[in-house]
């Protein structure tokens, strides 16, 4: 027995609302979320929130907007896969949801200043990567070259199509897109993301690589990046794990001695290389 600590529950979501819904593909929608009283989320690129639908449950979702464009709102790009994400897809503008976070380590963008940045997201991995991409582009002068390679399964599954076009037109971004399988209209690259690597040259010692995508992609992309001579601690990934709390208690996200929700989800390859079950 001891004095009762006057602390609040870490599991209580803040009530927020959906201020905008955009359909991106057959599977993904983009939600703009506003917190009460114009409060800012105060996140770092690469962090995530736990989204609550009361009566259904919670799901960890990466914050897709960059802190540089936050103005009291943030964006989530959500793929419909199960209970929470399907229920979220059924909500309209104005609907109430719960939010906890931001959680996780995020990418240390300040440490990347002065470096060339190579982004290599695949599929839905562009959702979290976009928060770093826009952060870097909004402070473009602080960084060296910006190279962006993006791969999706089919043209229909490409995310953020308007932004892809904007990035493609910028002359300070070296931009390449590919799809695993093309269609009648597609005139761009066809092949998995690693087929884009021969198109670029990098100064490996000065390059930070950020790759976000499904586990199979990591194995191949990291091999390419190492092959280009980029040091292990300059290669960054974001790992997805099952998460039930986001605050280091429930044990679900554990990867060896790391708790993905605390030490990650952003890790550099030197941290996780040789860690069993990481990649």
């Amino acid at each position: 027995m001891s004095p009762i600590p006057a602390i609040e529950s870490i599991y209580i979501p803040t009530l927020a609302w959906i201020s905008k819904v955009e359909t991106m593909t057959a599977m993904e929608k983009m939600f703009t979320i506003e917190l009460p009283r114009g409060q800012s989320l105060g996140h770092k690129p690469g962090q995530f929130v736990e989204v609550s639908l009361f009566g259904i449950g919670e799901a960890p979702i990466s914050i897709s907007s960059s802190p540089s464009r936050s103005n009291g709102k943030f964006e989530l790009c959500v793929r419909k896969v199960g209970d929470v994400t399907t229920a979220l897809h059924n909500l309209d503008e104005g609907a109430r949801i719960g939010v906890r976070g931001p959680f996780g380590s995020g990418f240390p963008v300040e440490q990347f200043e002065g470096r060339d940045i190579l982004f290599a997201p695949g599929g839905l991995g562009l959702a979290p990567a976009r928060s770093v991409i826009n952060q870097v582009l909004d402070q473009r002068a602080k960084y060296g070259r910006v190279i962006l390679l993006y791969g999706a399964k089919t043209p229909g599954e490409l995310l953020f199509k308007d932004e892809l076009q904007t990035w493609g037109k910028r002359n300070d971004v070296e931009f390449h897109v590919t799809v695993d399988r093309g269609d009648k209209e597609w005139i761009g690259n066809v092949g998995v993301i690693t087929t884009l690597f021969p198109k670029i040259t990098v100064n490996p010692r000065n390059t930070i690589a950020i790759t976000v995508g499904p586990p199979v992609m990591y194995r191949f992309v990291i091999m390419e990046l190492l092959g280009k001579g980029i040091p292990e601690d300059q290669i960054w990934v974001s790992l997805e794990r099952r998460m039930k709390c986001g605050v280091g208690k429930c044990g679900h996200c554990q990867i060896d001695h790391f708790y993905c929700c605390q030490h990650g989800p952003a890790f550099n390859y030197a941290q996780i290389k040789g860690v069993m079950e990481a990649i």
């Binding site: 027995m1 001891s2 004095p3 009762i4 600590p5 602390i7 609040e8 529950s9 870490i10 599991y11 209580i12 979501p13 009530l15 009361f54 009566g55 259904i56 449950g57 919670e58 799901a59 793929r79 896969v81 199960g82 994400t85 109430r96 719960g98 499904p214 586990p215 997805e240 794990r241 099952r242 039930k244 709390c245 605050v247 280091g248 208690k249 429930c250 044990g251 679900h252 554990q254 990867i255 060896d256 001695h257 605390q262 069993m276 079950e277």
Partner: protein, 344 residues
């Protein structure tokens, strides 16, 4: 803090006096042995119990615990805290060490108000084991066969009386207000010393190495064939997690009322041995096989917890998982096999 003495016949009055004011959970007999339960009568308490199937951690982490209630029609959220004063009576020292570990896990990093408030309103009265409970426990190897902290009061049976180690001011008040006691006299202290030193020899060391060397052993055991060997036997039933005093992983679930207007979110005990524990939305499962999941469990027990929370242990040697496992997968068996293979 101090050492008091209470007479054996004053123990039941002590419990009934506490029962008047608090919920008291203690070991009681049931069909299969003993279990921790809320007492309705002081006479139910069985301080001579050997072990319980479920550990007393359920008093601090209920199998299902409401985190908050909500309204869906007019969104609002109300946190739920359980702050009833209660006494957890008759805890063995292995379980006490497990609770010390839980205390640290839930207080560190992001403090967990649900656990910490419940813990703050719970007094722990532990009891020293003077004999090993059965052939499965290995508390001597894990250095948990006695305790010097983590309790409010600690009882050591000395024939016609108990020595009471007073661990906290709350414990002092609990004893003072509910039981006759006196300061230990010299002859009583001599008897206590004799009993405590005689006890050591009665406990076997079942591990071939010391518990403190487990993190190092586990660090070189990732690729051991032992995981596959036990993996083919394991059913993945999760019983080993459910009975373990140091397991605390949980799942979170929402429930709504019939009219759909109100509901609650709660956490429930979970098991890392179940197939879906590490599966994600895309269908990828990061620990697909029994071997991987068993390795994960034994790494937590022998290495991760000890390294993440210095001074704490992920296993306290209570032997419950060994008793619960139908296919004889036991910490002693696994660790001794790894130790032998590495001939450390």
């Amino acid at each position: 803090m101090s050492l008091k003495i209470i007479n054996k016949e004053d123990l039941l009055p002590f419990v009934s006096n506490m029962l008047r004011e608090y919920e008291v959970l203690g070991p009681v007999a049931n069909d299969t042995g003993f279990k921790f339960a809320a007492l309705t009568d002081a006479a139910q308490v069985r301080l001579d119990y050997n072990t319980t199937i479920l550990p007393p951690r359920k008093a601090l982490l209920p199998t299902q615990e409401t985190l908050f209630t909500f309204r869906t029609d007019m969104p609002s959220v109300t946190p739920a805290f359980d702050m009833r004063w209660r006494v957890l009576f008759g805890v063995h020292t292995c379980d006490l060490h497990a609770m010390r570990m839980l205390d640290e896990v839930f207080a560190r990093g992001n403090p967990d108000a649900h656990y910490m408030k419940r813990r703050a309103t719970t007094a722990i009265v532990s009891v020293e084991c003077l004999e090993a409970c059965d052939e499965h426990s290995f508390c001597k190897s894990m250095n948990t066969l006695t305790a010097t902290s983590g309790f409010d009061l600690h009882l050591i049976g000395l024939g016609d009386f108990y020595a009471v180690d007073v661990g906290t001011t709350a414990g002092d008040a609990l004893l003072e207000n509910h039981c006759k006691s006196h300061e230990a006299t010299r002859p009583e202290l001599v008897l206590l010393d004799k009993t405590m030193s005689a006890k050591w020899a009665k406990f076997p060391s079942r591990l071939s190495l010391e518990g403190k060397d487990l993190p190092a052993l586990m660090g070189i055991s990732y690729k051991s064939p032992v995981w596959e060997e036990i993996g083919v036997r394991c059913f993945g039933c999760g019983a080993c997690n459910i009975v373990c005093p140091t397991c605390y992983c949980f799942d979170v679930r929402d429930e709504v009322s019939l009219d759909g207007k109100t509901g609650e979110r709660s956490r429930i005990w979970d098991s890392c041995q179940l197939d879906e524990f590490a599966r994600v939305g895309t269908g990828e499962n990061f620990r697909k096989t029994h071997a991987q999941r068993l390795r994960h469990r034994f790494m937590r027990k022998g290495k991760y917890i000890a390294e993440a929370y210095p001074g704490q242990q992920g296993c306290v040697g209570c032997g419950r998982c060994a008793r619960a496992c139908l296919v004889d997968i036991t910490p002693v068996g696994v660790w001794n096999a790894l130790h032998k293979a590495h001939a450390m």
